[in-house]
Symmetry: C2
Subunit: 421 residues, 2 copies
């Protein structure tokens, strides 16, 4: 008998009818002889509706109360799924994050899981029950207050529970039927991957692939939890995220796929003194504003002026804060001006294969040149090449690279609507 | 500095705008120098919407999951009120029933409060915060599962918290501005009462007065918590429910008011053997079906047949179960037939005054006779007379008795719409 953890996104439980269908799939898994733990996100638009109500009563709602408010969404969806399972003749018990032992930091709105102590979940499984756990939420170790885990929190809950329960697999049900070589909405012959290593999936997620959030993959890799990404709407095989790159024979090493990201903006700090320590001042200032930067480029110094420029990318949502912070320190840091640009996109090629195949970077750049796309900035890791291009060129860049590396399949990719939390 | 517990019903927080108004009233109370604990019901139609969703996913939802589902309603309203208070510049923290230490039995859907251990509430008050507690909910002592308290649960939560915190007063804000001598929708000159004793209020609630639920008044009397019933929409003085009848000087003893109840049905068990023990069999059968009966009448025996009839009243909702149970035992109990009637109403006169004023029953019956209303059944206590009449005569009966005992005032009563949980 296996222990299976399943996670269903908000669009999978957006209506009573969908909830009944999800319940059927859960009951099937149970009747196939498995112990089943299920993590469900809030129904469809619930979170947006609650956020809207909060805005109406208070312009800047306190984070603690926001967490108390938003976690009611998962409470509703999980108890409804438990009821639907009951209607199909199986025992089901729903638990809040706190009841399931999801212990977190007290950073409301973006708490980190410290520990999972799923004693009550284990007991309920031992009594033959299907167990539902409200995703996205926990209880803070210090204050015992209700917390939320931030974006991708329900996936992380599922993986963390799978790790704590030593589950055989964590199945993430979503609105796509697996991890693709590129976004099927952009590349019509994008292929579903049967399996991806944790490292490759980490790079894909970090580069904007939205199917799995970065922190969920990090958690899965750290605790070695196989993650199976599948569609809520089909019985297709999906994609298994598992194992290390080292397990893949070099001969078979291939390129995983093309990821893209429209969520970043670019900042250029112009006319910085070209002496040691000034770049550090810029990045310290941004770090103090709690902003993560992604790509960085320092221009070649102009000897005649003794000045240089630094360009970096960061989440668009953090752009105003970064500009404010740097502007406030302009005198201290001593730069001339700040330029910013939100009309950029990042395209990345990920794959363990590039380690052993020379010429990948050359092919990559040639493909973009042939498509007449200008490269703004390049950054690479051992298994990834990323470039920054103009926002309007992004889709073409994804298609050009996908084609240049022959990642396409024969089948037309299927696209479903909706996103989960 | 006083400690005030306030409770607001669902209609008082039905929209963002009403939530902001409730928050203003709470902040006013705080700024007047009081410690404030607030219990809020679920917003307007939330509970009905959740019940509807539950019905759509499962015909007979398990009670445990129903409690998990329904308690999200109070979680939403309480966190929103906390946010609105924050928006007005005061600290506020919301707690679930479990966090506030409301320990209950494990009877899902109708749990009883066993104990209240409000340590976290006390701490938050001591730090200067306004405290919100989700009403209607608790945590079961045995299973640590989320429970609900059933009808009137939020009022009971408020009174129980007031008792545990030794509050100076428990203010119940509702859609009427106090306890009236009769329902103002029926009697246009019904008067608001300045104060009522616990005993009188118990009789009023037991006889159908809907402003306060019976169990909330029982709790308040047991722990001697003064309950102040006030309108959410006005600043009128309301009605104070407090103290014992014994505290009221006999000279001032008056009649409290006229209550009515449309929620009961009547059952007559016909042709029961007129020997000891058969009435007991009937009532044992009904008790085994967990049904509370109210009024009881045994007809004078007909010597010629050796048979008698027993009539009793019970909640309309329990009528089918009672008839089923009795019918199943017809052979054993040995009656001829069961008659039932749902077209009945009960009108009651309540007041400590009737103890010391003879002739109250006579005046009561004369008033109904003059209004040409037939009395079906009479039952009395030390401070109450109740009669059963035809449903269609009920409003006229209320008016006739209110007038006969000169309970009316000079002012027209004001009626607001909506009900709370």
């Amino acid at each position: 008998m296996a222990l299976v953890v399943q996670k269903y996104g908000g669009s999978s439980v957006a209506s009573a009818e969908r909830i009944r269908r999800v319940a059927e799939r859960i009951v099937e898994t149970k009747r196939a002889g498995n112990d089943v733990v299920v993590v469900v996100s809030a129904m469809g638009d619930t979170t947006d509706e609650l956020l809207d109500l909060a805005q109406q009563v208070c312009g800047t709602p306190p984070a603690r109360e926001m967490d108390m408010l938003l976690t009611s969404g998962e409470r509703i969806s999980n108890s409804l799924v438990a009821m639907a399972i009951h209607g199909l003749g199986e025992e089901a018990r729903s638990f809040t994050g706190s009841q399931a032992g999801v212990i977190t930091t007290s950073a409301h709105g973006n708490a980190k899981i410290i520990d999972v102590t799923p004693g009550r979940v284990r007991d309920a499984l031992d009594r033959g029950s299907i167990v539902l756990v409200a995703g996205f939420q926990g209880v803070s170790q210090d204050s015992k207050d209700v917390t939320t885990l931030g974006r991708g929190g329900s996936d992380t809950t599922a993986v963390a529970l799978a790790a704590a329960l030593k589950a055989d697999v964590c199945e993430i049900y979503t609105d796509v039927d697996g991890i693709y070589t590129a976004d099927p909405r952009i590349v019509s012959d994008a292929q579903r991957l049967d399996s991806v290593s944790f490292e490759e999936m980490l790079e894909m997620a970090a580069c904007g692939a939205k199917v799995l959030m970065l922190r969920c993959v990090e958690y899965a890799r750290r605790y070695n939890v196989p993650v199976h990404v599948r569609s809520s709407y089909t019985t297709k095989p999906g994609t298994l995220v598992t194992g290390s790159m080292e397990d893949i024979p070099v001969e078979e090493a291939i390129l995983t796929g093309v990821a893209h990201d429209r969520s970043e903006a670019k900042v250029t700090v112009v006319g910085l003194p070209d002496v040691p320590g000034y770049a550090a001042k810029v990045f310290r200032a941004v770090a103090e504003a709690e902003i993560n930067i992604d790509m960085v480029l320092q221009n070649i110094s102009k000897v005649e002026t003794g000045k240089t420029d630094i360009t970096f990318t960061l989440p668009k949502t953090d752009l105003p804060a970064a500009v404010d912070k740097l502007t406030a320190l302009q005198g201290e840091i001593g730069f001339t001006e700040i330029l910013s640009n939100e009309s950029i996109g990042k395209v990345s090629l990920v794959g363990a294969g590039m380690k052993s195949h020379p010429g990948v970077t050359a092919t990559f750049c040639e493909a973009l040149a042939e498509a007449d796309i200008n490269i703004d900035l390049i950054s690479t890791s051992e298994i990834r090449i990323s470039v920054l291009v103009d926002d309007e060129d992004l889709d073409n860049a994804v298609r050009a690279i996908h084609k240049a590396f022959d990642l396409g399949g024969d089948e037309e990719a299927v696209v479903h609507a909706g996103t989960g939390r």
